[in-house]
């Protein structure tokens, strides 16, 4: 199977701090991959580097053979690579439906700028909202949702955009534990129903074990180890890193 994302020797420094150092990883098309590591190990920085939030100091990032590292933030999603945020980012003053409708992928040509939103969008949006279980809240202002619900909404918005690959930053953080299994099921469903590659930062090992087919582990800005979940679980370095960190 081909690689959808290839990260080669990416380094990012903030002043003296080595946030990412010589990170390399490949992600296979259609797989579910998880990225773990103690806090401050540079996971989110890596996400930011990939989606162009900040320029990287060295290395290369290829998404379907296209070099991302020189692209601007808004140029990357149209390629089909999307990310969600650890601290949820949603359009607080607008209703959930609006949040969904805007997220629909449309070309940004000046011609299409002033299109009306097609009716069938409502249907699609409602489908996906109900899929993540926000259907009845759909007319509320997104800002009024709980943190967990906002996470779900952000996920739904991402789906609305029909990406090829989705990068989720701690999708289960702050979500009611009883719902977590539901989330896992849905993520898996997303993966095989919509054929979306998932790249998930996650702390909750249970989620990782049930979700990921392949796991990368970072520590202190370096790639520590990678492999099948079970291997990682029993990997000495990984355990030390976590213990060392916690």
């Amino acid at each position: 199977m081909t690689n959808i994302l290839e990260v080669n020797n990416v380094s990012k420094f903030f002043g003296g701090v080595r946030a990412n150092e010589e990170i390399s990883l490949n992600i296979k098309k259609g797989s579910i991959v998880s990225l773990i590591g103690p806090n401050g190990s540079g996971k989110t920085t890596l996400f930011n580097s990939i989606v162009g939030t900040h320029p990287i100091d060295s290395g290369s990032i290829k998404f379907e053979e296209k070099e991302l590292s020189k692209m601007l933030v808004h140029e990357i999603p149209p390629l089909g690579l999307l990310r969600t945020f650890q601290q949820t980012k949603i359009y607080g003053q607008m209703s959930c439906m609006m949040n969904m409708k805007i997220s629909k992928k449309v070309s940004n040509s000046y011609k299409r700028m002033f299109d009306k939103l097609p009716k069938e969008l409502d249907d699609e949006a409602e489908q996906i909202l109900s899929f993540v279980g926000l259907y009845e809240k759909r007319h509320l202002r997104a800002g009024e949702l709980s943190f967990g619900q906002q996470k779900l909404l952000e996920l739904a918005m991402a789906l609305m955009n029909e990406p090829k690959m989705l990068m989720l930053d701690e999708p289960t953080a702050g979500i009611n534990p009883t719902l977590i299994n539901g989330i896992i099921d849905r993520l898996i469903k997303i993966n095989d129903k919509y054929k979306i590659t998932l790249f998930v930062i996650e702390h909750n090992m249970r989620v990782v074990m049930n979700l990921a087919q392949h796991v990368f582990c970072m520590a202190h800005g370096k790639m520590l180890a990678d492999g099948k979940p079970e291997e990682i679980k029993n990997n000495k370095l990984v355990i030390d890193a976590y213990l060392g960190a916690s």
Partner: protein, 295 residues
């Protein structure tokens, strides 16, 4: 081009510039304080200055030397600032900054009009009776009053900085500036700190004002340029960079004078504002390269 015909004028211009720049720097320092600590932009800055000027002018009218007015203006504006905080400003401190801009703008209008109603809007100035020094056989002229106001301004600024470094309140203010929540947890009464910060800011403006009325002229509607100048100075220096504020204050003064010599006084205000825009854009362009923006 007169600056080339008479080379001494350049030096003259820079000297004049530094002397007016000191006053700008003082006002700007006040703004930086309020901005850094309370995260509000005080549009009423200029009106505080002019009001301070009028207090000193009153003292002068009563027949005292305006120099006695300086501490009085300082004290009066301190009280006024404190009251204003308690009445209005404390309601906008933790709000969106634009709210604070508008609110203080409202305050500035009120102060301006009330000054006009109380003092009338004749152009006023206070005479110190100080002489003039000539250097390089009359090629360089320095009005002593300007020079002394320069000294007072610098002394005032340094005084406040010293106060910030040493006194208990000063330390509390600096702590709050760095991290209000942490400061609160450590038992700093941030409300009190804010109140005093705003009062100190006003007081500084008052001092500057009394220097303005001694050196130049005032009337109730001359506030805004001081506000915008100080804003610009703070932007150029960067928040929390006190020496930077003083430096760029002096720099702006010199630049203005030079431009006034070169293009004529008429462009002066326009250039100030244009310069402000250029600085803003330039700095954010630079940040944009790092895909960031001025926060």
């Amino acid at each position: 081009m007169i600056l080339i015909q008479a080379p001494f004028l350049n030096l003259q211009a820079i000297l004049d510039g530094l002397m007016i720049g000191a006053i700008f720097a003082l006002v700007a320092y006040g703004m930086a304080l309020a901005w850094g600590v309370m995260n509000i932009i005080n549009i009423a800055q200029g009106e505080f200055v002019i009001l301070g000027g009028y207090i000193t002018f009153m003292v002068y009218k009563l027949g005292f030397s305006p120099f006695f007015g300086a501490p009085l203006s300082f004290a009066f504006l301190f009280i006024l600032g404190f009251l204003l905080y308690k009445l209005i400003v404390h309601r906008v401190v933790d709000r969106d900054m634009f709210i604070s801009i508008l609110a203080t703008f409202g305050i500035s209008i009120m102060i301006r009009q009330i000054m006009n109603l109380i003092f009338g809007s004749q152009v006023e100035t206070a005479l110190t009776g100080l002489g003039t020094i000539f250097l390089f056989d009359h090629n360089i002229t320095i009005a002593l009053v300007k020079f002394s106001s320069f000294v007072i301004a610098v002394a005032g600024a340094l005084g406040v900085i010293y106060f910030m470094k040493t006194s208990k309140l000063g330390r509390a203010i600096r702590a709050t500036a760095q991290n209000p929540r942490a400061a609160r947890i450590l038992g700093v009464d941030t409300e009190k700190v804010y109140a005093y910060t705003y009062a100190i800011n006003a007081a500084i403006c008052g001092l500057a004002g009394s220097l303005v009325v001694m050196t130049y002229t005032i009337h109730p509607y001359m506030g805004l340029p001081y506000t915008v100048r100080s804003f610009m100075i703070v932007i150029v220096a960067g928040l929390g960079n006190i020496p930077g504020v003083l430096a760029s204050g002096l720099g702006l003064g010199a630049l203005e004078e030079l431009s006034a010599y070169a293009f004529g006084t008429e462009y002066r205000i326009g250039l100030v504002f244009l310069f402000l825009v250029i600085i803003l854009v330039y700095r954010s362009k630079k940040l944009a390269k790092r895909r960031e923006y001025l926060k």
